[in-house]
Amino acid sequence: MYRRLLAVVISASFLPLTGISFAADGESLPAEAAHNHRGGEKRIILENGEDAVITLWKPDLTTEPLTLEHGGVTLPKTGMDNYHVILAEKDWGDHKEVVIRYEYRHGPPSKQSPSRLTAQQKTEFEIVPAPIPREHYRYHSQQRWGFVVRFEGQPVGGLEVELQTSNGSHLSVTSDAEGRVEFLIPDDFPGVVKGERDRRLGQFSVSSEYHQGDRRYTTQLSADYRVSPSHWQSTRLGLLIVGFGFIAGSVIGRVKKGGDGK
């Protein structure tokens, strides 16, 4: 049995609304290393997670309580692949704060669509990816992704929703009548070298706040994001090569005309 750390550091200033947050200690891992969890255990650091109720939601919508140990939780082998949700809730009476993270886990086929997990109400106030990157895909900078803000399962319009990244970017938009917001994930990794593959991981959080009577709800969805491949993949050059291929095909077609054409 082996353990790997989800190793992403989130600064304290990254968390404007909630005290608890997903984070980790240790050195940053390249994306590929994080990808290769292959169903083993995985440890996630939860900052300020004392007294929080932590729940693991599995793809088949069954749940399992997780225990905070040494400032983090260990995701066990669940025997099924696909997205899982780690939900941490802290109730202060007049204020309930929630952090959510969707984690892809490898394992035997769960045969469950992630749409079940996103559709399921997991807490009163939550931000749901709409959609979440498809299995084997990930968030990248320069991509536009949507999220829905829900309270007790119903979309909430007119709420201010913020996106912050571990690289210091900050965006803010207001949810529409369907509770939907969209963000263009900032291309904010420092020191990206044009033409060279960059496997660094960053973190972003999408957060919002909702009031019902005297009770305040804050929620934060956190996720990894990666450097946009457009830094080392050139569409213009690709099109140029398609053009060369087309010319070559035309020439081959002409050459063959003498031999085979009828």
């Binding site: 992630p114 690709g238 398609v242």
Partner: protein
Amino acid sequence: MNSILNLSLLRKLVQIGAFVFFVYGGLVTGYYLEDKISRSLPALSCAYDHQGADLCTLIPIQHQMDHRLGEAIANGGNLMMGIMPTLITLGTFLLLFVVLNKAFCGWICPLGSFQEILQIIGQKLGLRRHESLSENLVERIRPVKWFILLLLVFAFPLLTGMGMLNHDLGDPFCRICPSRILTTLATGDSSQIYLDTANTTTIVTSLLADFLFGLMIALALTVRQPFCRICPMLAMHAVFRKIGLLRLVKNATPRCDRCGLCAKACPMDIREIHTDMESRNVTFEDCTLCGRCVEFCPDQDVLQLKYTRFPVFSSSPHYFKQRKKQQSQWQKRTLIGWFRKRSAIPGTESS
């Protein structure tokens, strides 16, 4: 036969429907991989197209060679556990394949349909077409699909999983497959046309992919089904073609070795349909069960598409005559012809 409806037209309608379904059908079936129909489709419906209804079986096979069997061999793990996902994928593939056999190529595959549409465009543009490739050239091309299947679908991913090749060769066929570029472009996503400068492997594979895509488009305008001839899915089909319920059957007569119209009609240039006088099941390794040979056979019941023992379409002199007439009329209608005709009418010439 109805004066308009024929087997080729029926096939075109099925192809268009299949193209729409497999390229955009994810809007109905769902966005996530778990929502896709089988995930082992015996046709090149690409997983990179997020709006697709299903994905081709070559994708999970490469993935399983790399991450399951390759890793199991490298780590001294349980080989049965390593091979089991591939057996499940092959089992699903076979369940579908048995139903339509190689007709998945000739009737369902989005890339095959695209090449046929290009061929129609080429014909309508008045480009000179190669009705048949030379026997020698066909013979030289035939082994390529087997090399691609063995090397790019099985060997390279397996060696990658065993740690003998770099990670970028874990799915080498997908990286050069024209269907990846075509189906994503069809959904308005141009992100799969690129030159990837991450390392030598990605430069080579992305160069090959883009070049092959351009080459295929140009060739398809004048040559029938250029990529199908080297497609590893055709080779996969060839392995299992004897168990398919749909098959091409020949009841040879002494006349068969003379006219050769069936071979000329074949988009894959399978001359054996014409020359083989022994076999009854003539679903050859390159056959896509398109049925054109049956349409253009002038003899009664000599060629048949049979589903198990039941003929579903048989050659007949009457059908042949009508079909040949339709084909002549269709081939006469070109854009150049239309412009010539238009300019010949007084008062329609441009000033």
